[in-house]
């Protein structure tokens, strides 16, 4: 619906300002100024209490480039983000498809709610719950061994797969949600028309459903990839000695090592890399949208 000419003239930026200002002032104070402060901080030299007063330097960025350790860790975090995103896509898309196209009525509504409910429960607690499941001698393998004729042991805790499982569990509902929303918007008649014209189920999926669902898949992927790349709590709880990642090193700079300028520089590098990846993906997103 387009506003009438009269309405538009009456409601310019000036009249909107009083209602807009509080929200944007708040965002400025809590998001935009802090981000600017972080950029400034990343250019400071040491801030230890006994150090000489800080001066501007690019040393912190130089540290990132001079020590391959940081690049390795950043790479590992990016790979982890990719693995988790792909796993969510592979598991989440079919689930969203079943919800949108196979289930109907109340059953669909109830199951949909069940799938996204965990998304609103505490993610920390959900990660913690996996440490109960994945441990050897835990409740799951004890229960399975009681009914299965052969011996099974789960011994995944403190490993890379444990981190992946925990993260997939955390972020899967995002993918189901975004894929569901786009799949639901696809008219069933379109698929049926293709089928009646002789397209196989598979080619209807490939030629019609997948392209139309692409925006949802990409949106879900972005929503998952971004936080996973910066994750530190999940690898700390589930990863054990395999849990050193870019996010944990950044956290260390702030909570333990007390090198905030380096932490800020590393954060900013992470942000830049994420933005570059998003920008690179933007044309694809626009084309399919």
């Amino acid at each position: 619906m387009t506003p009438s000419f009269k309405t538009r003239r009456r409601n310019g930026l000036l009249s909107a300002l009083p209602l807009l200002l509080p929200a944007y002032a708040w965002l400025t104070l809590a998001i935009f100024l802090p981000l600017s402060a972080m950029v400034y901080f990343s250019l400071l030299s040491d801030i230890a209490p006994n150090a000489p007063s800080p001066s501007l330097t690019i040393e912190n960025y130089a540290t990132f480039f001079s020590d391959p350790l940081y690049a390795t860790l950043l790479w590992r975090s990016l790979v982890l983000g990719l693995i988790v995103t792909l796993a969510c896509l592979v598991i989440g898309f079919p689930a969203a498809y079943v919800l949108a196209k196979i289930l109907k009525g109340r059953a669909r509504e109830a199951i949909f709610l069940l799938v996204i409910l965990p998304f609103w429960s505490n993610s920390l607690v959900r990660v913690f719950s996996w440490s109960m499941v994945l441990r050897e001698g835990g409740i799951l393998d004890t229960a399975l061994n009681a009914v299965l004729p052969f011996e099974v042991t789960f011994d995944l805790i403190y490993s890379y797969p444990a981190v992946v499982i925990g993260l997939v569990h955390s972020y899967l509902p995002y993918m189901v949600l975004t894929c569901y929303l786009t799949l639901q918007a696809i008219d069933d008649a379109l698929i049926e028309a293709a089928r009646s014209l002789g397209a196989s189920r598979l080619s209807a999926l490939r030629r019609i459903v997948l392209p139309l669902a692409m925006p949802g898949m990409l949106a879900g992927s972005a929503l998952i990839f971004i936080p996973v790349v910066g994750s530190f709590m999940e690898p700390r709880i589930l990863g054990g000695r395999n849990g050193t990642l870019f996010g944990t090193v950044i956290e260390d700079q702030f909570t333990a090592v007390y090198n905030w300028p380096l932490g800020a520089a590393l954060s900013f590098i992470l942000l830049a890399v994420v933005l570059v990846i998003l920008l690179a993906a933007a044309p694809v997103l626009r084309r399919t949208a």
Binding site: P118, V125, L172
Partner: protein, 263 residues
Amino acid sequence: MMRSSSLLSGLGRVYIGLVLVFLYLPLVIMAAMSFNASPFYQLPFEGTTSWYAALASNEGLIASTLNSLQIAVLTTLIATTLGTAASLALFRSDFRGKRALQALLFPPIAIPWLISGTAMLIFFFGTGIGRGLHAILLGHVALALPYVIIVVSARLQTFPRELEDAAASLGASRWQTTRKVTLPAIAPGIVAGALFAFAVSFDQFVVSYFLATPGQTTLPVEIYAAIRKGFTPEINAVSTIVILFSMGLMLIVSRFFRFAGDR
């Protein structure tokens, strides 16, 4: 063809069932272990409710739970008010740069929390705003605002603009129109937005983690500290309560906001 499609839908149902098992199994196991007597999660299972009883005397957990609730309520009030006002303004007006202004809502959602959290830590610490509950509140409102604006704006899309014009032509003031016509019509959206804000704040860990100080922490931060410094089934007990609380809350939200769409 009929048979293959019913086979497919059967498989689909089984698949969804498996996904649900994946999503819920760890939570069920965690809850089960909160009723097990061994402090080291040893089996065989020995039933007890003593971990829940222990919660009642754990002052740190109780204090941080009250903090979490307090911050979530304040976040809800502030974010809903500011967010609804901004949504109305964006809905009613049209000006150059409106899209850019809308795009500015996304950083709080799109930037990794680790980065928002550390940036806030640096800024609040450096400017004397300091850390603690007030800083956590500042951060939570910023994180919740975009959600409120998105949800309320979505509801506004279904609101017939002519109603406002009609009320105005009948002589109602701007404020009367808003209060008597617009707000009641979009109330379900506002309620849903408010509950989103509550959930965002109550579950938030990362930003709170960097802004908390000893004595001024929230429940998730306290739980994380407990997990890192040695956890007991007491943590399972409090986690079980938190999970049930959040999920119950979202069940209520679902009555106001149809996630599954209207089709």
